[in-house]
Amino acid sequence: MTSSTYASLLGLGAAVVLLCAVMTLWRRSVGAIVKVLAVQGVALAGVALSIGIDHHDATLAVVAVLVLAAKGVVVPTLITRVVRHDPASRETQPLVNVPASLVAAGALIFLAFAASRSVTALAPTATGRLIPYGVAAMLVGFFALATRRKAVSQIVGILLVDNGIALVAFLATAGVPLIVELGASLDVLLAVVVLQVLATQMRLRLGSLDLDQLSELRD
C-alpha cells in the first residue's frame, strides 16, 4: 500500500471519528446518535486496520476486527435495544442548546490541536500528525457526556470518549499491545452492560431516563 494512500486513509478515518463526535452534538434524536456511534466504531476499526497493514502487524489486524465487532456492531445494537423499549427517550433536550454546543465543540477542537502541538512536533510521522484528531474527539465526547439529559445519551458520551482515547492510542503507539486493547474493550463492554442495567432500572423506578430525577437522591 503506497504511503500516500495510507496517509490519506488514516486522515479520512481520523476525520470521520472526529466528525461523528461532533455529529452526536448536532443530531437530537437518540436513534440517530447511536447510528453515528456505529459509524465512528467502523472508522476507528478502519484506522486500526490500515495501521496494521502498513506495519505488517497481524495482532493489530486482529485488534481492528475486534474493534469493528465490538464498537461497530455489538455496542450499538445493545443501545438500540434499550432505546426501542423506551419511547420517551427518543428526543433529547440537551443542557446546552445545539448551536451553543457546536461552538463549544469548535473551541474544544481548537484547544485539542493547540495542546497536542508539542506531541505532533515530537512525532511528525503520518500517524503522529493525526493525534490531535483523537484528542479532539475525546474532548467533544466528554462535552456530549456532560451536557446530555438522557441516560442513554450519557452512555453514548462515554463511548465517544473511549473511542477518542482508542484513536489516540492507535495513532500514538502505532498499535496498542493486544492485551491492553482487549482490557480496554472489555471495560467498555462492561460499562455498557452496567449502564444498560442501570437504564432499565431507572425506567422501572423513576418511570423515565431523565437524569434530573437523580438529583432527589441527595441527602
Binding site: 484547544l111 495542546a115 474532548l139 466528554f142 462535552f143 451536557t147 438529583s215
Partner: protein, 673 residues
C-alpha cells in the same frame, strides 16, 4: 530445614488458622484456629530463640508475593526478642479465646481475623525492607481495626472507637512511610541494611526530620501522650483477648519501631532527639497514671496504664539515647536493657490484667467498677490472678514489675552525676516522674482490685457472678505464672534482653548483667538479688504465720458482721465506690484534671428547702482529647459542610467539573509547551 523456612511455615500455619477460623463450624472454630496459632507461635519462637542464642541473623528473601520488591525478612536479635514477646502474649490469649469465644468473639469474621492478627505481629519484627514492613504494618492495623469493630452493630461506642483508631493509626502509618521514604531516597536499595549504610551520610536536619517522623508514627502506635487518644477507646471496645494482644504486643511493636529507626537505622543521634523522647515518656507516664487513677471503667483504666508504662519505656529509651550521645555507652546499654525489660514485663502483666478483666466482664456482665465488688469470693481463681497481676504492675518486690523499675532507677541514678548540665536537670525530673507514676499506679490498682474484687457486690450482675470456664482461667493463669517466674528468676529475661541490646549497640561491650543468682551492674556499684529476696519473703511469711498460730491460744475464729458503728443495716451502698475512692487523688490533681462536676437537686414540690433527691456526677475527661483533637475535628466538619454546597446532586454538574478540569489542564499544557 533452614531457620528461614521455619518462619515461612509459621506464617503459613497462621494463615491456615485464619482460614480455619472462617471455615469451621461455630462450635469448634476457636479451638481449631487456636491449635494452628500455637503451632505458628512455637515455630516463630524457636527461630527467635535460635537467633538470640547464636547471635547471628536469619534471613529469608523471596521475589514472589510482593510485586517489584519481593518479601525479605531478616530476624535480628532485637527482632527475635519482640517475636518472643508477641508469642508469649499470643499463646495464653488464644487459650483464653477458646472459652471467651462462646460469649463475645464468636462471629466468623472475628475468628478468622484474630489468627491473622497474631501471625502478622509475629512477622513485623522480622521485616527487613520498607515494602515488607509497611505491608505488614498496614495489615496489622487493618486486621486489628476489624477486631475492634467486631461488635460495632451492638454498640455505638465501638463504631466511634473504630473511627478514632483508624484515623490515628493511619496518620501514624503515613508519618512512618514518609520517614522510610526519605531514608530510602538517600540509599540505593530499600532493605534496612541499605538504609542503615546510607543513613549516616544524610544531612543532620534531614536525619532529625526522619527521627521525628518515626517518633510520631511509632509513638502513636505505642500510645505516647499526644497520640494516645485512640488507646482507651479501642482497648475498651475490643474483645478481651484482642485488647490483651494490642496492649501487650502491638504497643510493644511501636517501641520496636522507635528503637529500629532511632538506634539501628540512624545509629543514635544528637542529644536533643533523645531529650524529646525522654520528655515525651515522662509526660505519657504522668498523664497515663493520673488518668488510670481517676477512671472507673476497668478496661479504660488498663488502657491508660498502658500509656503510663509506655511512658516509662520511652523515658528509659530517652535516657539511653542521652547517655549514648554524651559518651557513656555502658549506661546507654543499661537503660536500653531497662526499657526492654519493662516492655517485656508490661506485655505479661497487662495481658493477664486484660484477660482477667474479660473474665469479669463475661461473669458479671459489666466492667464499670462502680457496679462490681465481692468478686474474689465468687470468682476465686480469676480474682487471685487479677490481684497477682495488679501487684506486679505496682512493681511490688517479688514480682516482675519490680525488676524493671529497679533497672530503670539504677540507670537514672548512675546517670545523674555525669557532669552534663542537660542530663543533670533531666535525670531528677525523670526520677520524679517515675516515682509519681509508681505512686499513682499503686493508687489506680488498689482501687481496681479493692473496689472490683473485695467488699460487697454493688449490682445484681456482680452478685450473680460465677467462675469462668477453665480455658479462660488457664489463659490468664499462664500469663500470671510467667509474671511470677520473670519476677523471681529474672535472669532469663535480663540475659536475653542483654543479647538483643548488644546487637543494637554493639560497640558498648556491655557484658551480661547476670551474675549467677543476682543482677550485678557492670562497672557500677549496684546489685539486686531477686531470687534471694523472694526466698527471704517466703521464709518471712511462713515465720509470721507460724508466729500467729503459735502465739494465739484460740485456734477457732468467729465470723461476725463487719463493724459499722452498731448500725443495723450494713448494705453495699455504704461502701466506697471507685469515684469516691479516687476522689482524694483527683482533688489533689484538680487543676490538671479539671473534672466536670454536676450536682442536680430535685426539691419537694411544697417547699424549696426540702430535698427530694440529689444526684452528683463527676466525670474526668481526657484533656488532651478536648484541647487538641476536638478543635481539629470541628474545623474539618465545618469545611466539610462548606464543601457540600459543591455537591448539588445533579450528574451534569459533576461531569462538567470533570470537563472543566480537563480543559484547564490542556490550556495549561498548551500555554506552557
Amino acid at each position: 530445614m533452614t531457620a528461614g523456612s521455619l518462619v515461612v511455615i509459621g506464617a503459613a500455619l497462621g494463615a491456615g488458622a485464619g482460614i480455619a477460623g472462617a471455615a469451621m463450624p461455630k462450635r469448634s472454630r476457636a479451638a481449631a484456629a487456636a491449635v494452628l496459632i500455637w503451632a505458628a507461635c512455637a515455630l516463630e519462637a524457636t527461630t527467635a530463640v535460635r537467633v538470640l542464642a547464636t547471635g547471628h541473623d536469619v534471613a529469608l528473601h523471596t521475589g514472589k508475593l510482593l510485586p517489584f520488591t519481593g518479601i525479605n525478612l531478616v530476624l535480628t536479635p532485637l527482632g527475635a526478642l519482640f517475636v518472643l514477646l508477641v508469642a508469649l502474649v499470643a499463646v495464653p490469649a488464644t487459650l483464653f479465646g477458646i472459652g471467651y469465644a462462646r460469649h463475645a468473639m464468636d462471629s466468623r469474621s472475628a475468628a478468622s481475623a484474630y489468627p491473622v492478627f497474631v501471625t502478622v505481629m509475629l512477622l513485623v519484627p522480622a521485616a527487613a525492607s520498607v515494602a515488607t514492613f509497611m505491608v505488614l504494618w498496614e495489615l496489622m492495623a487493618l486486621v486489628s481495626l476489624a477486631l475492634v469493630l467486631v461488635d460495632h452493630s451492638r454498640r455505638a461506642a465501638a463504631r466511634s472507637a473504630g473511627t478514632w483508631y483508624a484515623v490515628l493509626t493511619h496518620v501514624g502509618a503515613a508519618a512512618i512511610l514518609t520517614a522510610f521514604l526519605i531514608l530510602a531516597a538517600h540509599s540505593h536499595g530499600q532493605t534496612f541494611s541499605d538504609l542503615e549504610l546510607h543513613a549516616r551520610a544524610m544531612a543532620p536536619d534531614l536525619r532529625a526530620l526522619v527521627f521525628l517522623l518515626a517518633l510520631v508514627g511509632f509513638g502513636s502506635k505505642a500510645g505516647a501522650v499526644p497520640f494516645h487518644v485512640w488507646l482507651p477507646k479501642a482497648h475498651a471496645e475490643a474483645p478481651s483477648p484482642v485488647s490483651a494482644l494490642m496492649s501487650g504486643a502491638m504497643v510493644a511493636l511501636g517501641i520496636y519501631g522507635v528503637v529500629l529507626v532511632g538506634d539501628v537505622l540512624l545509629g543514635g543521634g544528637p542529644m536533643w532527639w533523645w531529650l524529646v523522647v525522654l520528655v515525651l515518656g515522662a509526660a505519657s507516664a504522668l498523664y497515663g497514671s493520673l488518668h488510670a487513677a481517676n477512671n472507673q471503667d476497668l478496661k479504660r483504666l488498663l488502657a491508660y496504664s498502658t500509656t503510663d508504662n509506655i511512658g516509662l519505656v520511652l523515658l528509659a529509651l530517652g535516657a539511653s539515647g542521652v547517655f549514648n550521645a554524651i559518651g557513656h555507652p555502658r549506661l546507654g546499654a543499661l537503660s536500653l536493657v531497662a526499657a526492654l525489660v519493662i516492655l517485656l514485663n508490661h506485655a505479661l502483666f497487662k495481658g493477664a490484667l486484660f484477660l482477667t478483666t474479660g473474665s469479669v466482664q463475661v461473669a458479671a456482665g459489666t466492667r464499670d467498677l462502680d457496679d462490681l465488688g465481692g468478686l474474689l469470693r465468687r470468682m476465686p481463681q480469676t480474682g487471685a490472678l487479677f490481684l497477682v497481676a495488679a501487684a506486679s504492675i505496682c512493681a511490688l518486690p517479688p514480682l516482675n514489675g519490680f525488676v524493671g523499675e529497679w533497672l530503670l532507677f539504677q540507670s537514672l541514678l548512675h546517670g545523674a552525676h555525669l557532669g552534663n548540665t542537660a542530663g543533670d536537670i533531666a535525670i531528677p525530673i525523670a526520677v520524679a516522674a517515675l516515682a509519681l507514676t509508681a505512686g499513682l499506679t499503686v493508687a489506680a490498682f488498689v482501687k481496681a482490685a479493692g473496689i472490683g474484687f473485695l467488699g460487697r457486690p454493688r449490682s445484681t450482675g456482680a452478685e450473680a457472678a460465677t467462675e469462668v470456664p477453665a480455658t479462660m482461667r488457664a489463659g490468664a493463669g499462664l500469663l500470671v505464672a510467667s509474671c511470677v517466674v520473670a519476677g523471681v528468676v529474672p535472669m532469663v529475661v535480663v540475659s536475653s534482653v542483654g543479647r538483643a541490646v548488644r546487637a543494637v549497640l554493639p560497640h558498648t561491650g556491655a557484658r551480661s548483667l547476670v551474675r549467677g543468682v543476682n543482677l550485678q551492674l557492670v562497672g557500677m556499684k549496684g546489685a539486686l538479688a531477686p531470687t534471694i529476696l523472694a526466698l527471704a519473703m517466703t521464709v518471712a511469711v511462713v515465720a509470721a504465720v507460724a508466729l500467729r498460730r503459735v502465739a494465739s491460744r484460740r485456734p477457732a475464729s468467729r465470723v461476725s458482721e463487719a463493724w459499722g458503728c452498731g448500725r443495723e443495716l450494713v448494705t453495699a451502698r455504704m461502701q466506697y465506690t471507685a469515684t469516691s475512692f479516687a476522689e482524694p487523688v483527683q482533688r489533689v490533681f484538680d487543676d490538671v484534671l479539671r473534672p466536670v462536676r454536676d450536682l442536680d437537686v430535685s426539691h419537694v414540690a411544697e417547699s424549696r428547702y426540702m430535698v427530694e433527691s440529689a444526684t452528683y456526677r463527676l466525670t474526668v475527661e481526657d484533656r488532651v482529647e478536648l484541647t487538641l483533637y476536638l478543635p481539629v475535628i470541628r474545623a474539618v466538619r465545618r469545611w466539610g459542610q462548606a464543601a457540600r454546597r459543591l455537591q448539588p446532586g445533579s450528574v451534569h454538574r459533576y461531569l462538567i467539573y470533570g470537563l472543566t478540569a480537563l480543559v484547564v489542564t490542556l490550556v495549561a499544557v498548551a500555554v506552557l509547551a
